[in-house]
């Protein structure tokens, strides 16, 4: 190898950096500016992505099988889950009776419930596409009735919301995204708060109005608050409280909660065809 003086025009780099910074500034000012371009790209690339995704599925499954916990851990987890299923079946009997009574009351009082909202089931086609992204892609879009900001759930609870829609694809902003906010209430006591994401594999943090000295039961459940003009319908399970701490300024209690849905292992999700009231 021999040394040579590098040649290159800093002007071109400076020009490209300037263009990139300008684009960033426009996007920062109004994030919807480039959304149509992104949606159009998603529409055009969609069929090709599906093809590559299908062709590479065996390889990706093999990789993820190697990368996951070992077989013994999976067996242990299976045993634990079987025990949990038996426990839940027992609880289910009591809950079925309670649900029947609730339905009767709801019908009598003409109250809506989460079960009344139509849903679209979508397959997760890809996880976060870059290390800075906390969004997933699904194979349903505006052709199937999806619109921006619709809530996304699984049977376990809230996954996130629709952040971008193309005719046959959509992007879902995950509940763990630090930009994500959702109004919640403690299922048992009804106290309100705002949950925010903290990043990948991190718990949610809930800014509550609970007094600092108050006690919140460990494992207390959190559901969407559904208060007036809320961005989410009422009573979607969100997280379970794992600890509490004093909030900023010491005026209220801050809750730390684990999301009920493991967003790293999603295959299918349900999109609630529900839009917040104007």
């Amino acid at each position: 190898m021999a040394a040579a003086r590098p040649r290159g025009s800093r002007t071109r780099l400076a020009l490209l950096v300037l263009v990139a910074v300008t684009i960033l500034a426009i996007d920062e000012r109004d994030t919807s500016t480039f959304r149509p371009v992104r949606e159009a790209t998603s529409t055009v690339l969609g069929p090709f992505e599906d093809g590559v995704e299908r062709a590479s599925r065996p390889m990706r499954q093999a990789w993820n099988a190697v990368g996951s916990d070992d077989i013994k851990d999976v067996r242990d987890e299976n045993e634990t889950l079987r025990a949990k299923v038996a426990e839940l079946e027992a609880q289910g009997i009591a809950e079925a009776d309670a649900r029947r009574q609730l339905n009767e009351l709801s019908q009598t009082l003409d109250l809506g419930s989460l079960g009344d909202i139509p849903t679209v089931t979508a397959r997760v086609t890809s996880g976060p596409r870059s290390n800075l992204s906390l969004a997933i892609e699904v194979d349903k879009g505006s052709d199937h009735g999806l619109k921006l900001h619709m809530p996304v759930v699984t049977n376990a609870g809230l996954v996130g919301r629709v952040s971008q829609v193309a005719p046959r694809r959509a992007t879902i902003e995950l509940v763990t995204n630090p930009e994500f906010r959702v109004g919640v209430r403690l299922a048992e006591t009804g106290e309100l708060g705002t949950a925010r994401g903290q990043g990948r594999d991190q718990p949610l943090v809930i800014d509550s109005s609970i007094a600092p000295g108050a006690t919140v039961a460990a494992d207390a459940g959190l559901v969407t608050s559904g208060v007036d003009r809320s961005a989410y319908p009422d009573a979607i399970p969100v997280a379970r409280v794992s600890s509490t701490r004093e909030g900023a300024g010491g005026l209220s209690l801050e809750l730390v909660a684990e999301p009920l849905v493991d967003v790293d292992r999603l295959s299918y999700v349900n999109i609630l065809l529900w839009e917040p009231p104007a």
Partner: protein, 174 residues
């Protein structure tokens, strides 16, 4: 001349589009240590390593912009980062007349780390919340992937640029 330019444009589009599809459909589903590889950054680094600083910056910008179109992160973030990464890779490679393979591998790893750090810092400046303690594992995963793939991807760029051997770098589109 026009045919040459069109050929270059077509080959570039084909390579970048293929890399983009592989990134969003395959690479994004191959996590290791909670991080994924970055083929588009690799494209920028390889373009710079083969074509020099100017081509590195230009093709890095194009690769980044294409990646930005498929993400939910601030638009332009990767165009900026990859232009810088491509330029750095080209600048680094241009110091040597005929670098050996291990030089390209080391440089791909090094520039990848710089690329990840720059993207995180820019994202943070733009208000994207991000845990800094995740940078190390992400930089490591991206660097390992890119070091492993740099040699075949360099060959791809030789094909795109229509060049057979490294030689001296020519500045693109003069």
């Amino acid at each position: 001349m026009i045919t040459e330019r069109l050929g270059l444009l077509g080959r570039t589009a084909l390579v970048l589009l293929s890399a983009l599809l592989l990134q969003v459909s395959v690479m994004s589903d191959l996590p290791a240590f909670h991080a994924v590889g970055d083929l588009m950054l690799l494209m920028a680094i390889a373009a710079g390593s083969v074509g020099g600083p100017d081509r590195g910056a230009t093709y890095g910008f194009a690769a980044g912009l294409a990646f930005d179109l498929t993400l939910d992160t601030p638009f332009g973030l990767y165009a900026l980062t990859f232009a810088v990464a491509g330029y750095l890779a080209g600048w680094g490679a241009a110091w040597l007349v005929q670098p050996r393979w291990w030089f390209h591998v080391s440089m791909a790893a090094g520039v990848s780390v710089v690329g990840v750090v720059v993207s995180v810092v820019v994202a943070r400046v733009l208000g994207v919340s991000f845990k800094f303690d995740e940078i190390v594992q992400q930089a490591l995963v991206v660097a390992l992937w890119n070091a492993a793939l740099i040699i075949p991807v360099r060959r791809l760029w030789f094909w795109v640029f229509g060049e057979e051997e490294p030689g001296r770098f020519r500045v693109a589109m003069q």
